[in-house]
């Protein structure tokens, strides 16, 4: 364009600068931003394309509320369990005075196990705690304890929580170990010189410093469990109505008989995982103040 050459609106350099990142911009708009925006706007439209809040209101029907509540419960329970046990494991290898090889073994294993999720994880737990699983059989034959007579079922809230913890605990270990490493010896010495007991040191010094890391990681675990589908789906089929499975069924065959209600279901998931991740990022920024 001759006009642009005589008096360019934007300089040539700026144009080249932005041209360099244009593949990334195109990619993220096409495969991340546009699909998400499409669902978010779809949640506020009715079948004729007019603005409506009906879909959002439609989420507050017993069936969908029930699936959100079971999803929230499982995510909360597995995140709590994962955070608690993961914290103690990390504490044991960092401050428990154990030999060094245990620390590297735990960290390496955690790197693997936090990525060992999805369908194979379901198989592993079926082989362990299923009706003919090894642990079930050993408990029955060697100890005379019938696990399934107690009402336990792998395809239930407790079973799914136990299974999810297999990737939640390692994730907690991986994130919280550096934070525990960051606790300075001097803080403990200073507390002890001032006459603090072990309990006082933990409740007044260590835990307040660690609190943003712990809460942040807890939220990350929570979001992680909330979005997971493959493990639950191959454990229970589509009988167990957590939100991702409900959404899966909706995508497959419009079981809600209203496409826009499906978008609202997706929006609900984005909001829940989005808020917990945002708080996680914020908490991590706060935690980093102590790690300098």
């Amino acid at each position: 364009m001759t006009v642009a050459r005589s008096r360019p609106l934007i300089s040539r350099k700026t144009m080249i600068d932005w041209l360099g990142v244009s593949p990334f911009i195109v990619f993220s708009v096409m495969f991340l931003i546009a699909p998400t925006l499409y669902l978010v706007t779809g949640a506020f439209l009715n079948a004729e394309g007019h603005f409506t809040l009906e879909n959002i209101a439609g989420l507050f029907t017993p069936k969908i509320l029930a699936s959100y509540s079971i999803s929230l419960k499982i995510s909360l329970a597995s995140a709590l369990g994962g955070a608690l046990i993961g914290f103690f494991l990390a504490w044991a290898v960092v401050l428990g005075g154990l030999p060094g090889w245990i620390r590297s073994a735990l960290l390496t294993f955690s790197g693997v196990a936090s990525n060992f999720a999805g369908v194979p994880l379901a198989f592993a737990f079926l082989a362990t705690l299923g009706r003919t699983g090894l642990v079930t059989v050993i408990l029955r034959d060697a100890f005379g304890f019938n696990l399934y007579a107690t009402g336990f079922n792998l395809l239930s809230f407790l079973g799914l929580t136990l299974t999810y913890m297999y990737f939640q605990i390692p994730l907690m270990v991986l994130i919280i170990t550096p934070a525990l490493d960051g606790l300075k010896k001097e803080w403990r010495e200073a507390a002890e010189i001032l006459g603090a007991s072990n309990a006082q040191y933990w409740t007044r010094v260590a835990l307040p410093i660690l609190f943003p890391s712990i809460l942040g990681t807890f939220l990350l675990l929570f979001a992680n469990a909330f979005g997971a589908i493959a493990t639950a789906y191959s454990l229970t089929g589509s009988t167990f109505n957590i939100v991702p499975i409900q959404l899966y069924a909706q995508i497959r065959g419009d079981v809600l008989h209203n496409p826009n209600l499906g978008y609202a279901l997706a929006l609900g998931m984005i909001v829940i995982t989005g808020v917990s991740n945002l708080i996680y990022i914020w908490m991590r920024m706060r935690a980093e103040r102590w790690q300098k």
């Binding site: 360099g20 499409y38 046990i85 494991l89 999805g118 362990t128």
Partner: protein, 262 residues
């Protein structure tokens, strides 16, 4: 101090039991196929299944393509942002974190609505198109890991000086990128590649909803229909994850000039 050590050992023992028991149980279960004795029949049956070979090689091919295109997208972007557009960095960082925030099932739901056969860009109209879309969706999934590891590697080199040095020697952009920058961030590219591999091989949601014959949906199908093959497949999958993460950790340790004190 003594008491502390007891508690630490106790925590590790309970943790180890929780983590190792399912692996032992899965392995034991996978050997039970022949009545009354242990055998590797389940593994033989898995490897003899042509569907296993097809879906597995499909997923490996997908993983390789995802890594290739992911690297070609991320390395130049991370380089360019560091060199010329530092003000754009927070945006790139935010966007690359998005796949962790938005569940995979939601992202693929959006694809199915945007790129179905009656849309302007009908990716899902043909099998090849769907493969392409699946590859892009895997790239999206691996974006956070790929970008972070490449960017971390790039932090340790001085991008500006390297570029100026190469330019003053008369190197064109292609040479700068592929023969200067690339070798210097290879450790980051490798760790991004292995984690991408581990993610793509096992991914269920995206190929399942896009109806492509990948390894994840195959696993689910076998799980629903067979008894002894699933645990055998779980052991195989665990071995693959172990191998890719193990190589990753080995590579990252190997690459550090001075390993941190334990």
């Amino acid at each position: 101090m003594k008491l502390q050590k007891v508690w630490a050992w106790l925590a590790i023992l309970i943790g180890a039991a929780y983590f190792i028991l399912p692996l032992i149980a899965t392995f034991e279960f996978s050997l039970r196929m022949r009545r009354g004795e242990y055998s590797f029949d389940a593994y033989r049956s898995v490897f003899a299944d042509s569907q296993f070979r097809d879906s597995f090689s499909y997923s490996i091919l997908m993983a390789v393509l995802t890594i290739l295109f992911g690297v070609l997208l991320i390395v130049p972007t991370a380089y360019w942002v560091r060199l010329r557009l530092p003000q754009f960095r927070p945006v790139v960082e935010f966007v690359t974190l998005m796949p962790l925030v938005i569940p995979a099932i939601v992202i693929v739901f959006g694809y199915l609505r945007l790129y179905n056969s009656s849309s302007i860009i009908p990716f899902t109209g043909s099998a090849r198109g769907t493969d392409l879309l699946l590859m892009f969706s895997f790239m999206t999934l691996s974006l956070p890991y790929m970008y972070r590891s490449v960017d971390t590697a790039m932090r340790t080199i001085d991008v500006n000086t390297l570029t100026e040095a190469a330019q003053s020697l008369g190197a064109p952009w292609r040479t700068i990128l592929f023969r200067c920058i690339f070798p210097n961030v290879l450790s980051g590219v490798l760790s991004g590649a292995f984690i991408t591999f581990a993610i793509v091989i096992g991914e269920f949601t995206m190929p399942s909803l896009l109806n492509r014959p990948a390894f994840g949906p195959y696993l689910q199908l076998i799980g629903a229909n067979r008894a002894y093959e699933p645990p055998a497949l779980a052991i195989i999958a665990f071995a693959i994850t172990w191998a890719s993460i193990g190589i990753l950790q080995f590579a990252s340790r190997f690459n550090k000039a001075r390993p941190p004190k334990p």
